[in-house]
């Protein structure tokens, strides 16, 4: 039997005679449109209709014709050959069409290596792929012009017709500077006001004079310093002297210097280039800013320019890198470090300070006071929780140093508090521009750090560190473990290298972990260097530029590290295991970039931003900065998000936006709370006002409101409560417009256990409503469904508890045996509304929706109903209460 009838069903079919489509050839032997030809041919299955096995068929192959009156017979060998050909071509075409899909060569690159603009620019593709890329674009590699349209020969976009953006800025800047220069020239003064005849001077000569004058002033200043403070007595004097010396340290070409504020706030005052003076005036740059800005979307927050998220999509990759393989790195230099230096005689004052900042949890345990472990938890000022921070103590007999690390949003409050403790024997260094940090998280975190930190001095601490050179660590090393030691410039090595140690046994690793808890991983000397001005300045001494390092790298030693000399600095660092299962690397500010540059070349390391921090937190059921609405800054953050959402919604045309006010939600109409975010103020009013409804009132009925003598609404039923919310929102808005400060006390406060809302006699007053106690919860969706941020949490109504629970366990079936839709159970009324979800979405670890949020502390149900904003579908969620936010 012929296969041909079978193949005739195929969409494309040609006979063997019909040659595959070929384009007219050009001079160099390639067809003009090779790609299209290939694609066309890949869809073709060749058959052999002109079958030789029939000795003499007609065109239609129907009649039996005889040759020499002999019956027509089948030529078996040729018949088999024909079918073999057809089967082979069928199989080949299957493979061909699989591999000839319309992909371009840059798509075969891993996503990290792809560049912006999807690389239609040939110059942006790795060299090994360029011939293929050119071919795909219809050019030949042998062509004279090996380039892409609109791109210069070096791969940069062709110049625009007229300057714009940065160029325009430069021009404007130049004109301004020239104006200043001209003004200065005309004035005819040098610095001291000494008048000279400017007509006789040219600019170069004038510059020379100014420079000489500056040098002279500096020389005299140094001499007077040495004279007056020959032997500085107090801690403050010592630090001030060190600070002055650090600024004048002319020891490197990189421009690195220590910039610390002694007993005052630090600032960046030194102008490196006049051209860019205005650049960082409001929002400072992290040490790795230029590197990050090319690869991430930046956001301006808390006085810093911080990476918000990588340009590359990375939701899944982030989750996987933090759990399964690889690791994630953040530049967290925006976290401010404040070092408190304390004379041992003033130990009590230091302890009082730390006790106040940490609500007593640092001073409670000896492991924190003795510096064996680092503490991490909530930082308080005046008993108000502010942010997550950490404390590391460096005890010694001469001088105790305590490093407090805080979130930049609360910098002003905390530093003012700490500065109020300054006295004789206690001295504060504000290191926000002199100590930076990098955070690395994931199974490979420890290994990747191990591969870039090398040293020549092998002290006990470093040897202990090396024991974990291959550890896959997500939860093996306990939180708060501290390593500190000195390392060499990581750029001496051309790539990351893990030393070839003999593999450690499980037992020896556990023993080393126990040793670490005794503080043996801590080189006190290194910590003192890291947290002192002199120590950090020393580490910048002779810091090499890339050019200098490049000169030392000789071709015959390629692949090996550059041999270090005695002049090369050693860098004091500290590596701390933090509560988020990540490693905080604390380093002097100007060493962050060299370390970062080495770190990002470790294979399988990805960079991330603030968004990813938030994502990882709620995936693990923890609270991130965004979720901590019980702190002032967190609350402000949620308000900002709410307003932004409202603004976006308002900008849309009416037909394109969800009409939240007319949503039919069970017996109610419209969202009771603001649909644009977590409206804690309204929740607070709602919860307190609901308590004022007299018991036994029918919630389904509404009466016209009554007012008392003070013209306040008397709460008699649920409808009154909803009106009260509107009243208070209106009053808030009015006082905001009058310029009165809103939220002097936050509408919510954190409660760690079940608390009742108190007496029923709480007055529903705009100003004096007590904050609503809320508990942090983690929830998991029990059924299908996608819960998003700002979802509303309802208590399950007692009368329909059974049906909701059976719905949750997927037992509730309809008449046809299918799962019941949540819609059939209705939507609980707003009297059941107890909380709001701050962050929620599909969780890749669990395989269903999870999230974190806060509920009114009177609730201790293990299941709650969640409803997304603007939706009438409810989901039942299992809830667990986060009893304490941070284990201290």
């Amino acid at each position: 039997m012929s296969l041909s009838p079978l193949l005739s069903y195929c969409k494309y079919r040609i006979s063997q005679d019909m040659a595959p489509y070929k384009n007219p050839k050009r001079g160099h032997g390639r067809s003009i449109n090779h790609k299209r030809e290939k694609l066309y041919n890949s869809r073709i299955i060749r058959t052999e209709l002109d079958d030789k096995s029939f000795t003499n068929p007609t065109v239609t192959n129907s009649d039996v014709i005889t040759i020499d009156n002999m019956a027509n017979k089948l030529d078996v060998p040729s018949f088999l050959r024909s079918r073999e050909f057809e089967i082979k071509s069928f199989e080949k075409s299957q493979l061909r069409s699989r591999y000839s899909s319309a992909t371009r060569v840059f798509q075969s690159l891993p996503r990290e290596l792809r560049r912006r603009t999807a690389s239609h620019n040939v110059r942006r593709i790795p060299k090994r792929m360029r011939p293929r890329a050119l071919k795909e674009m219809g050019f030949s590699y042998r062509d004279v012009k090996k380039e892409t349209k609109g791109v210069s020969e070096s791969g940069k976009p062709l110049k625009k017709a007229h300057p714009r953006g940065r160029q325009l800025y430069k021009l404007r800047r130049k004109s301004k500077l020239l104006k200043y220069a001209a003004k200065h020239k005309l004035s005819g003064h040098l610095i001291d006001g000494e008048v000279i005849d400017i007509k006789k001077l040219n600019v170069r000569e004038k510059l020379k004079m100014i420079r000489a004058r500056i040098e002279e002033i500096e020389r005299t200043r140094r001499v007077t310093n040495e004279d007056t403070q020959n032997a500085p007595e107090s801690l403050e004097d010592k630090d001030l002297l060190a600070q002055r010396e650090a600024v004048h340290l002319p020891s490197n070409l990189t421009g690195a210097y220590d910039n610390t504020g002694v007993n005052c706030k630090a600032g960046i005052h030194r102008i490196v280039s006049l051209k860019y003076v205005t650049r960082q005036s409001k929002f400072k740059w992290l040490p790795t800013h230029v590197w990050q800005a090319k690869r991430a979307k930046m956001i301006k927050r808390w006085g810093w320019n911080i990476a918000n998220e990588p340009t590359m999509k990375c939701f899944r990759k982030t989750s996987r890198s933090s759990r399964i393989k690889g690791c994630i790195a953040w530049d967290t230099s925006y976290i401010n470090t404040i070092v408190v230096n304390c004379d041992p005689s003033k130990k009590d004052v230091l302890n009082a300070l730390l006790s106040e900042l940490t609500n007593g949890s640092v001073t409670k345990k000896k492991q924190y006071i003795s510096g064996r472990k680092a503490w991490e938890g909530l930082i308080y000022v005046n008993k108000e929780p502010l942010c997550v921070g950490s404390v590391l103590q460096v005890p010694s007999e001469k001088l105790i140093r305590s490093a407090v690390r805080i979130h930049p949003s609360v910098y002003d409050v905390v530093i003012d508090k700490i500065l109020s403790y300054v006295q004789d024997g206690i001295d504060i260094n504000d290191c926000r521009y002199s100590i930076g940090s990098i955070n690395v998280r994931g199974p490979k975190a420890l290994t990747s750090l191990q591969s870039i930190f090398h040293t020549a001095k092998t002290d006990l601490a470093y040897k202990l560190w090396r024991k974990f050179s291959r550890l896959n660590d997500t939860e093996t090393v306990p939180t708060g473990t501290v390593f500190s030691f000195e390392i060499q410039d990581p750029r001496l090595w051309s790539k990351s290298v893990i030393p070839h140690n003999t593999p450690e046994t499980v037992d020896s690793i556990l023993d080393s972990l126990l040793e670490l808890q005794e503080g043996k991983g801590n080189n006190e000397d290194a910590l003192h260097k890291l947290f002192s001005i002199e120590g950090r300045s020393q580490s910048y001494k002779n810091q090499q530029t890339l050019k200098q390092l490049g000169k030392r790298r000789t071709p015959e030693r390629s692949g090996e590290p550059i041999p270090s000399t005695s002049k090369d600095p050693s860098i004091p660092i500290s590596v701390i295991k933090s509560a988020t299962n990540s490693y905080d690397v604390i380093v002097p500010w100007f060493w962050v970039m060299p370390i970062w540059y080495q770190l990002v070349h470790v294979p399988h390391l990805m960079i991330a931003g603030l968004k990813q921090m938030n994502q990882l937190a709620y995936e693990k059921g923890e609270l991130s900065f965004e979720d901590m609405i019980f702190t002032r800054q967190g609350f402000i953050n949620s308000q900002i998000k709410m307003r932004e959402n409202a603004r976006k919604w308002n900008r849309k045309p009416r037909s394109k936006r969800v009409q939240y006010n007319s949503l039919a939600l069970g017996s109610e109409r419209g969202e009771a709370l603001s649909p644009f975010g977590c409206d804690w103020r309204s929740l607070q009013v709602l919860r307190y006002a609901l308590q004022k409804i007299p018991p036994g009132t029918d919630s389904s009925k509404a009466y016209p409101s009554e007012f008392n003598k003070k013209l306040e609404r008397v709460i008699k039923c649920k409808a009154d409560v909803l009106e009260v919310i509107k009243d208070i929102k209106k009053a808030d808005k009015a006082s905001e417009l009058l310029g009165r400060p809103l939220f002097q006390t936050l509408p919510v406060r954190l409660a760690n256990k079940k608390e009742d809302l108190g007496e029923k006699g709480v007055d529903i007053d705009v100003r004096n409503l007590p904050p609503l106690p809320v508990r942090a919860v983690y929830f998991e969706c029990t059924s299908r469904g996608h819960i998003t941020d700002n979802a509303r949490m309802y208590r399950i109504p007692a009368d329909s508890l059974d049906s909701w629970l059976s719905f949750a366990s997927n037992e509730e079936k309809d008449i046809r045996g299918r799962n019941v839709s949540g819609r059939m159970l209705g939507i609980p009324g707003s009297e059941y509304l107890v909380g709001l979800a701050t962050s929620a979405t599909f969780n890749l670890v669990k395989g269903f929706s999870t999230g974190v949020g806060f509920v009114d502390s009177s609730s201790d149900d293990d299941r709650l109903i969640l409803r997304n904003v603007g939706s009438d579908v409810c989901h039942v969620c299992r809830v667990s209460y986060l009893s304490s936010i941070w284990r201290n």
């Binding site: 409670k364 345990k365 472990k373 290994t447 896959n472 660590d473 556990l510 399988h604």
Partner: protein, 152 residues
Amino acid sequence: MAPATAPKLARLENKCLVKHAPPRAYSQNEGSHVVYIKSSTPYISALKRIERSLDGFRPLPNRNGSPVAKSGSNIKYIVVKGMGKAIPKVVNLGIHFKYDKQLHVELYTKTIGVLDEFVPKDNENDDDDEEEEDDDVLRKRNVGSVELHIML
């Protein structure tokens, strides 16, 4: 003679136990041939995960038509690991692959050291802040473990 068994370690009173994962070396490509089973891993999920890694070693035709295995050809067996409460699950998986799938299976027993951390319980003494607390206690513990080798 009955085998000598180590006495069971008692929990510390009034302390919260934080369990730490046993130390293991990081390896980038472990995912292709090592499957870790924990007590909460559903049996069927484990089965599918092992099947998927077995599939990785089955040759499929590449673009030239010659058979090539996705995960390479250096690995001789797939490792399934489980400890403590997950041991019966791993053994059951072994039985499945031995009898239902007719594969050659080897089972090894091991002991693995883990670290227990005892931290003070929360909210016990909220009122008296001044009271000093003990430091966190770290303790070694040994856990039984099995390792399954499923030959390709």
